[in-house]
Symmetry: T
Subunit: 69 residues, 12 copies
């Protein structure tokens, strides 16, 4: 009943969609952190190249469990 979580802030990117940028950030953090539980979008921004979106960049808060499994 006494769960504890830690939150980190990550930015992922994609040339295609906001959803892909979110998944890229989560996949990258999943390489080193177990037990990721939730995310929350903090900011959606990106680069413009030749008059259209070159890259979507999405900044997330990602929460993971500090509990022993």
């Amino acid at each position: 009943m006494d769960h504890a979580y830690k939150t980190i802030e990550l930015t992922g990117s994609s040339t295609e969609t906001v959803e892909d940028a979110i998944n890229q950030a989560i996949a990258r953090s999943n390489e080193t952190i177990d037990k990721l539980r939730w995310f929350e979008v903090e900011q959606i921004r990106g680069h413009i190249e030749n008059g259209s979106v070159g890259l979507f960049q999405v900044t997330l808060k990602v929460g993971f469990s500090l509990d022993e499994s």
Copy 2:
């Protein structure tokens, strides 16, 4: 000229896209409320399952008309 609106806060969800989660919330509120007029995204968050997005959850403010039709 003297229109009045009420705003409610809803959260919809989708395993696929942010747009689907928005539409799911609006479809659900449309079952009981007529004359929905506009929405505004308050928050985009979600669950992580096995290192990727398991569910997008989008919280909306949804405005509807209080005028008699």
Copy 3:
């Protein structure tokens, strides 16, 4: 080393996706402004028609360079 930027606020729209609304706003501003560099999403909202999303409207801050090329 002494770059300067100006930021403007634009709203684009799309019947389909948030990403299309972003690109529509950038394409429109690219007609009159060179050297667009980045964007940041300020707000995602839209119209509801017949109980589903009729139009996504995305408000952006768009930054462009004031430097001579």
Copy 4:
């Protein structure tokens, strides 16, 4: 001593003044809700028609008592 309140969000409108738009929203919600107690202005906006204000729209939080009278 254990009062409880519920808050709803409403938008009223007037072609004349901010105060009239506030009163229009309160009058409309008073038709269906007893015991309205307070309001707080969330946003003042409006339509522009032919280069001047066509309509003031004021969004309020309105609180009402959940206590039995």
Copy 5:
């Protein structure tokens, strides 16, 4: 997998503690709404009487499920 929630804003009160004021607001809304799921504290305030706290008032967002059970 496509859960939907609605959020309402409530204020509870207690002469004793912040926790009691939260529970009072939830108990009151539980009388008319099933399937309450979570709360979030929006504001802690109160009355002062004779130079000490007379009443704690806590405003909450409370979310409940729109799904059929």
Copy 6:
């Protein structure tokens, strides 16, 4: 060239208009503080009595000069 200011927060009230509530707060603080220079509206709220506005309450930041005259 080295002016200094102090800011205080006041709430004025009026049964009639937002502007009257602002002037009432400024008039009251002018009784004890010289050299009031500017104000900024922080919040517009009020009481509801019998289904219409009973009192407008406007909270201001008011700045005054700390310089000797």
Copy 7:
């Protein structure tokens, strides 16, 4: 269906009312910009002169259409 808007920030002023300050800012921007569509109040502030309001200053976001007529 693919409307685009640009938003600018303006401050108007009036010795009398908040509404007059809004109209003054809109009238001034209407001299050089067609197709103004909506406004949103960002800030209400002002000067104090001899212990009462000398000038109301209202800062607005004003949106106008980028579409060809």
Copy 8:
């Protein structure tokens, strides 16, 4: 009907609870100011000593009446 209030910002502290820190700040300001009416919590923070909370510090806005009694 034309009440006026002034708001000040105070921080109280307690080794035990948030509620005690609120009461300590109010008691201290009550020594020099009559007619305290309401408080609003601005921030809850504190010191950590030897791996647990050493001191809760709660910052409040406290409002008091400017009216003659």
Copy 9:
């Protein structure tokens, strides 16, 4: 004189009080981080079970010293 700090974001929980949830988060982070110095409450939320609070969840920023002891 040139102290440096790092801040992390943690969520602790308790079935009883807000204060217990704060202490649980600090105790957990104290297992792996020395020299914790201060905390600041970011959010108070929780689960509702059977119409009353099932779990308080408090999110904190926790600061610790980067200095050599």
Copy 10:
């Protein structure tokens, strides 16, 4: 262990640097208030004269101890 603080809001100014404007505000308030303990920058703004900065104006919250020495 039960320290109490009061916070006031001040604006200092300098033709040279942000740091000088901060020190000017603190020096001015130190003339009448003992036991100033900390400051926090709320806003950095200023006047423009002939196309460059004429005056930096920095608004601070300044906290001082209410404890007897």
Copy 11:
């Protein structure tokens, strides 16, 4: 008495100080806009190169008069 202002958002940069970045943004906008009156700092950020600050970037709101001289 009926002054009107327009506000634009600019980012200036400097390898040395925050104040230089502010002055660079103002100098650049002064090339094309007369009657600049005030600025307000929105954000201070920058690039890191080889472990120290490579560039300070300061984003400002800059207000200028729309009045005929």
Copy 12:
């Protein structure tokens, strides 16, 4: 094209300037983290000693690349 970043929050300090406090925080984090890319100022505050600034404390978000070099 699929860069990912992580952001951490740090506080640096200096007895002299805001810029020195920023550089101190970045230098300290550069000892253990490669590939620092950007910073953003979150808060400027400090200690007051004997009526003038004793220490500037600047809290930054610092972003670094998660990409393999």
